[in-house]
């Protein structure tokens, strides 16, 4: 077994999965409260651009992050205004945000930086450093799995590790706090929550705020962790893949984590699998592997491999009865 291969595969998976995980967590927060969020792709794109633009002009990592988070929350609040305060269609709103984001990021990018939509490359100070490199070197000494462990798990930037921590945090928030209990109930039976004297509107806005922060982290990661700068359309459908992962994970943060890792692994492996001949199937086209997450999600939605039950009140605007 080639330790380097396995190690680099793990490393790629983790790096590629990080934005998926953060987005899937964002989607989970929103949808468990009953609000469909199809705007994840757009939020990720816009916040990535904001982080890159602010990072390039100020040279400060923290300013870039702050800008991204502020924008992410603002977009989610807009979503809430149209869909929670007024009975706007949640699907259409999500599409509107994404469609606007695709155009606006390039328009502003060209106007401000004149590099065909890209932002100038971010200085190292704005980018994240790899962590635990020392630990990695130490691990390499271990027999058999040392190299794999070192390559796979150490040397990533802070966001990668943060994503995993956040999975735990979101899980704890949803299942171990009062807020989480009320939020989950809101997505299933908002009338009951209302009758119990809790404000459905406020809960949904709070969920959307957290959704905005998480989506912003995903977007910021793209430019401070993965690519050194913004490229037009750099999200390339990841927002939708994160949604698929969330559904595949049955709207549970840990389930979503596994789904994201799976989809991330497929993405990381697709390049390496090119040209590989599988017994009986012949050469596997890279596009088949690229399509696999989406195919799997459809199969799951169709109920062929177990049931994926959405929160019962998902997508239905809540109107007070009396």
């Amino acid at each position: 077994m080639d330790e380097t291969l396995v190690g680099t595969l793990i490393a790629s998976t983790l790096r590629v999965s990080t934005p998926l995980i953060l987005c899937a967590l964002a989607g989970t927060m929103s949808e468990r409260a009953g609000v469909i969020d199809l705007g994840l792709e757009g939020k990720m794109l816009l916040t990535a651009f904001a982080a890159a633009a602010v990072g390039a002009t100020t040279g400060s990592l923290w300013m870039a992050l702050a800008a991204a988070i502020a924008l992410g929350v603002a977009l989610s609040m807009l979503h809430g205004y149209a869909c929670v305060s007024h009975r706007g269609d949640q699907v259409v709103m999500g599409m509107a945000i994404t469609m606007t984001a695709v155009g606006l990021t390039v328009v502003l990018g060209i106007a401000w930086f004149k590099q065909g939509g890209q932002t100038p490359p971010l200085a190292d100070a704005v980018r994240l450093d790899p962590w635990w490199v020392g630990l990695g070197t130490a691990l390499t000494a271990l027999p058999f799995i040392g190299k794999t462990l070192a390559l796979g798990f150490t040397g990533h930037n802070a966001m990668v590790y943060l994503a995993f921590v956040l999975v735990g945090a979101v899980w704890w928030l949803l299942y171990r706090t009062r807020f989480g209990l009320r939020l989950r109930a809101t997505g299933e039976n908002p009338a009951m929550v209302d009758a119990a004297g809790v404000s459905v509107k406020r809960l949904r806005y709070q969920a959307l705020a957290i959704n905005g922060v998480l989506a912003a982290l995903a977007g910021a990661y793209l430019v401070i962790g993965l690519n050194p700068g913004f490229i037009p359309n750099m999200t390339a459908g990841r927002g939708y893949m994160a949604l698929a992962a969330m559904i595949f994970g049955k709207w549970h943060p840990v389930g979503a984590l596994w789904a994201c890792l799976l989809f991330g692994f497929l993405d990381a492996a697709s390049i390496r699998l090119q040209g590989v001949v599988l017994p009986g199937l012949g050469e596997v086209p890279v596009q088949a592997i690229q399509a696999l997450p989406y195919v799997m999600t459809v199969v799951l939605l169709a109920g062929f491999i177990g049931q994926s039950r959405a929160p019962k009140a998902l997508g239905v605007p809540y109107v007070k009865e009396r």
Binding site: H86, G88, V91, V92, P232, A291, L301
Partner: protein, 373 residues
């Protein structure tokens, strides 16, 4: 997607969309100004680029043709109570269908080959829409999610076919060989040439008439046939439709089948009308433009035709503009498109009650004055 607020027809069909369009234009104008350009100048150049020359008008109509197809697709699904976001993928498959037929039977006479290609485009589009439709109707899978997934799957499928199976040998780019003259729809300039009229060479082709025919056919279907009646009843009031002997699952299938077929026709405009070969990304976001077109056009074929012309003009004007003003790019049009979906779609529920209140107050005053006078 029903209307819970009761507004008089003229507000619902004209005033409200005009208002939302104005809002979207206003915000876009603001963005234009924010990036240091003069909105008025931009607008003037845009109009000139879109309508100021015969070539410009032709390009505008050519773009509009594609948008009519995708707009009608979204509209038909809307009338059945469904949101079809899969237009992008269905259009791609339509092009694939037309392309496969052209590659297989490219030597047949055009009079047979071209209609066959149209049929294939529609069938492939229908098939691609039918699977999410069946999953919704019979397994309860949310059609919005499945159609989005199918967009990606279509993209991957077509990419695979273009790179590995259908690629023209010796060509660096992932595209098929040229289909040949029999698979080419006559261009507008060619058609006018038959009558001795000179016209600049543009991608505008016979499909524009096909689009007009499709819009008319959809209008007839929705408001003059039983099928359309059943579709609209299901979209407005599924329980009443069931009471009226209409099977809701069948209506879901019908709506999506027609919707997919319409989206598939994009393939005719692009593949048979312009490129004469199958190449990647010929849809280029038209499926999403169709959503904007249908929202502004209030899901009515006439509104869709007008909205398509608007967007066609924006695309063409935008292309011309980007030559004149380097800072301007087509992405401004994409932004405007998103803003239209925002105001006409998502925020529609914000404006509508305001209109209802204003209208209510105004009509009460009119009636009071009539009573006094």
């Amino acid at each position: 997607m029903s209307q819970p607020i009761e507004l008089p027809r003229w507000i619902d069909l004209v005033a409200l969309p005009a208002f939302n369009l104005a809002l979207a234009l206003l915000v876009s104008g603001f963005v234009v100004w924010a990036i240091g350009l003069d909105p008025v100048q931009v607008l003037a150049l845009l109009v000139k680029g879109a309508f100021g020359s015969r070539a410009g008008v032709s390009y505008t109509l050519y773009y509009a043709t594609t948008f009519v197809f995708t707009g009608l697709a979204v509209a038909v699904a809307f009338h059945g109570g469904l949101f079809n976001i899969g237009g992008e993928g269905q259009a791609m498959m339509g092009g694939l269908g037309a392309g496969l037929v052209a590659l297989a039977f490219g030597s047949w006479p055009a009079a047979i080959l071209l209609p066959l290609m149209v049929l294939a485009a529609m069938l492939f589009g229908t098939a691609w829409a039918a699977v999410p439709a069946a999953l919704q109707a019979y397994r309860g899978s949310h059609i919005v999610i499945t159609t989005i997934m199918f967009n990606f799957i279509a993209s991957a499928l077509v990419a695979y076919l273009l790179v590995d199976v259908l690629k023209e040998p010796g060509n660096m780019a992932p595209e098929t060989r040229a289909f040949g003259p029999n698979a080419q729809l006559p261009g507008f300039h060619t058609m006018l040439g038959w009558f001795g009229i000179e016209w600049p060479r543009t991608p505008l082709n016979l499909s524009v008439l096909l689009a007009a025919a499709a819009a008319t056919a959809v209008w007839l279907m929705l408001w003059r046939t039983r099928g359309g009646y059943a579709l609209r009843a299901t979209g407005f009031a599924p329980e009443a439709a069931r009471y009226g002997g209409i099977a809701p699952q069948r209506q879901v299938m019908m709506a999506m089948a027609i919707s997919g077929a319409l989206a598939g026709l994009v393939g005719i405009n692009e593949i048979a009308g312009v490129h004469n070969r199958l190449l990647p990304d010929f849809v280029a976001g038209a499926g999403f433009t169709g959503i904007a077109v249908s929202l502004i056009g209030r899901s009515h074929p006439l509104g869709i035709v007008l909205a398509s012309l608007l967007f066609g003009a924006l695309y063409q004007g935008g292309a011309e503009l980007s030559f004149e003003i380097p800072a301007f790019s087509r992405d401004m049009v994409t932004t405007l498109q998103g803003l239209i979906v925002l105001f006409a779609g998502a925020m529609a529920m914000v404006a509508a009650p305001l209109f209802a209140r204003l209208y209510g107050a105004w009509s009460r005053r009119v009636r009071a004055e009539a009573a006094r006078g």
